[in-house]
Symmetry: C2
Subunit: 396 residues, 2 copies
């Protein structure tokens, strides 16, 4: 019979997707260029030319069996080695290829990392605001996601609430920095405090507690500052990465899990992930895409547009009286709505063809997310409409 | 803590992989050309040139966001439509794109199909001989794989044993035709009888019983005969396909689930599969690979070598007195060993640099598998060694 739990999931349509569909439909009425669609976190800049050039070059130079043949279930050795080397150079780590497990994007990375370090029934803690897909991602593994309420002052970690919720069943803590939806980058101070806390708890409970770091926005940071590399702070860290955002390759489903060389069973993580794959039907990302990203590991797309858009929006929102934490990265900004009910606020904005995502599904009521991975020209054109909306609806 | 069940799986090394590693190591000693490596089912012929040409053409003509952007979670509509149309034309079906769910190969297809039509604890029945990865594939979903003993006369279905094992908890039956490892193609008679049986059981138990058809070898058939299309015989069929073998693309992880338009909830299967993906980290195959296969749907690699190799081996094995069912497809042959203990038989063959896979892990004792997806020239060179082995060890 058809599985009832999965069938039931069809009822719970994603708010983000509903808004995106609304924007598309509205675009058909008035022209999509007139819809200020801040709904989707979809990269708006092209992949570096070198990536596509690399694909073409490999089609010419590699044999069919080499380019399109089976990847070993732990990933292609030369690709794993190259990723390790790039991370070592950039973040002062000492990975070997054996610590790297190529995955189908960050979703695939999290699916493996969580299964690797939890038993069914264990708890995984994350922090609001958070990416709503964490619920199906984590609960689909057999573990149970628990959400620590937000620290709305600066969207760093709410350590008091973390301590209230922590218990012996917590097997892993999941962080996302730079953060979707807040745009905030966890500071070195936050990460140090988190690491100290987890080390203390490991000792108290006498078992490993893993830090799973979801970092697809790692390279999208502003003001010329690097985001602290989470794994530097805590040994039992599994870093989950995707090239979706940094190389604008979301459809190619390519990323990795990187196991900190000092974590428990560090040399086995990759092999355990390959075992996990057998049950999930994952069996490695595309061979060609593994080779493809290995060609351009230290590159990113030209992402200057995101910082430019952020500055325009941050300045304007602040001028309009919004309470908003300045993003340190990503292509999201997360201001407080002008009324308590964020859904009502975003519904009113829709009347002005401003597509904003209410914060409720991110685990914080009363805020909204704008995904500004769109052309700067459109951001600029949206400003008069934003002013009009705020003035007419809230008298500001 | 590290998940103990997955860690435990590291102990159970695949026999096929061990033999393949032995062959590689032996190749370093005596030259790989002198090792008659029949261990791995890895396509030995290149992808059609049109596939690679198509990739290059798309890199030049499609925008980065179109080519490498997010696929909808149910797959790219134009690709789904094209697959449906090709299947309709070839097999007289009436699929629409909505019945097609693109997956990461057949492994991904089975992972989705089984989750879609079972509840945890349900039984899935398959037939020996079978692909040993079915155990992690099926048991990883929460269902439980049961194996019906082989009909060693012709490797069609053993219906008596099937009936003995059938019970109310059976939610799905998994068939693989053309079959790995036997090479046998299920006849129309077998499929008709199976469909009649399942229809009767559906009525008896008052619930759906799905037929999951794993058919990556569908296009590798001999004697100019087409393999019967399983879904034509039974409405509640989910066809699981991979382009790994027919297009020699095993590393690109691209295939699909095709839901029979008459099956229960046929219009929802694709959407339910997309929900399943959220928990497994699958999130669609590579966009570029979806477009890539859509360019060459009605093509295959030049697979004439497989039939040529089969004929050489079948004739020789028969002449040497082996009991062997003539394969109707695939690139496998599955003769009876010359002693009861297939492991002992294959170990002796290793002394002659003949790498044969004992049948125990395929669910039938006393046989062995040869994967003849290798150059014909090597098959021919292996014959004198096969004769020598049989003569010296078994006096034949």
């Amino acid at each position: 019979m058809i599985n009832q739990a999965y069938k039931q999931m069809l009822q719970g349509k994603s708010v983000i997707r509903q808004l995106s569909e609304f924007a598309t439909a509205r675009g058909k009425e008035i022209g999509y260029e007139n819809v200020f669609d801040y709904s989707l976190g979809n990269p708006s800049v092209p992949v570096p030319k070198e990536f596509n050039d690399g694909l073409i070059e490999m089609i010419g130079s590699k044999s069919s069996m080499e380019l399109h043949g089976y990847s070993p279930s732990v990933g292609i050795p030369s690709v794993k080695d190259a990723i390790a080397e790039s991370l070592n150079k950039r973040f002062g780590m000492n990975y070997t290829g054996n610590h790297i497990f190529p995955t189908t994007g960050a979703a695939g990375a999290i699916a493996h990392a969580v299964r690797c370090v939890t038993e069914p029934g264990d708890e995984v803690i994350t922090f609001a605001p958070f990416f709503p897909e964490y619920f199906p991602y984590i609960n689909g593994t057999g573990a149970c996601l628990k959400v620590v309420p937000a620290n709305t002052k600066d969207f760093q970690i709410n350590f008091e609430k973390l301590d209230e919720m922590f218990n012996e069943k917590v097997a892993a803590v999941l962080v996302n920095t730079p953060n979707n939806p807040s745009g905030v980058v966890y500071s070195a101070e936050t990460l140090t405090r988190l690491a100290d806390y987890l080390n203390k708890k490991q000792e108290e409970y006498g078992h490993d507690i893993f830090l799973i770091s979801d970092e697809p926005y790692r390279e999208i940071v502003f003001d010329g500052i690097d985001a602290p590399y989470v794994s530097k702070f805590y040994d039992n860290t599994l870093s989950c990465y995707s090239y979706s955002k940094s190389l604008s390759l979301p459809g190619e489903r390519i990323g990795y899990v990187a196991a900190n060389p000092k974590c428990t069973d560090a040399e086995l993580i990759s092999a355990i992930c390959a075992q996990i794959s057998r049950g999930t039907g994952h069996n490695c990302p595309s061979s060609m895409m593994q080779y493809g990203v290995a060609n351009v590991l230290d590159m990113t797309s030209d992402m200057a547009v995101y910082e430019k858009n952020m500055n325009i929006l941050y300045d304007e929102l602040t001028a309009l009286g919004f309470e908003v934490v300045r993003p340190g990265g990503t292509f999201y900004i997360f201001p407080k709505a002008l009324e308590d009910d964020a859904v009502a606020f975003c519904n009113k904005a829709k009347e002005y063809d401003l597509i904003l995502v209410p914060s409720d599904s991110f685990g914080v009521p009363g805020y909204f997310r704008m995904a500004y991975c769109i052309d700067t020209e459109k951001v600029e054109r949206s400003i008069p409409m934003l002013r009009k909306f705020v003035k007419e609806c809230y008298g500001k």
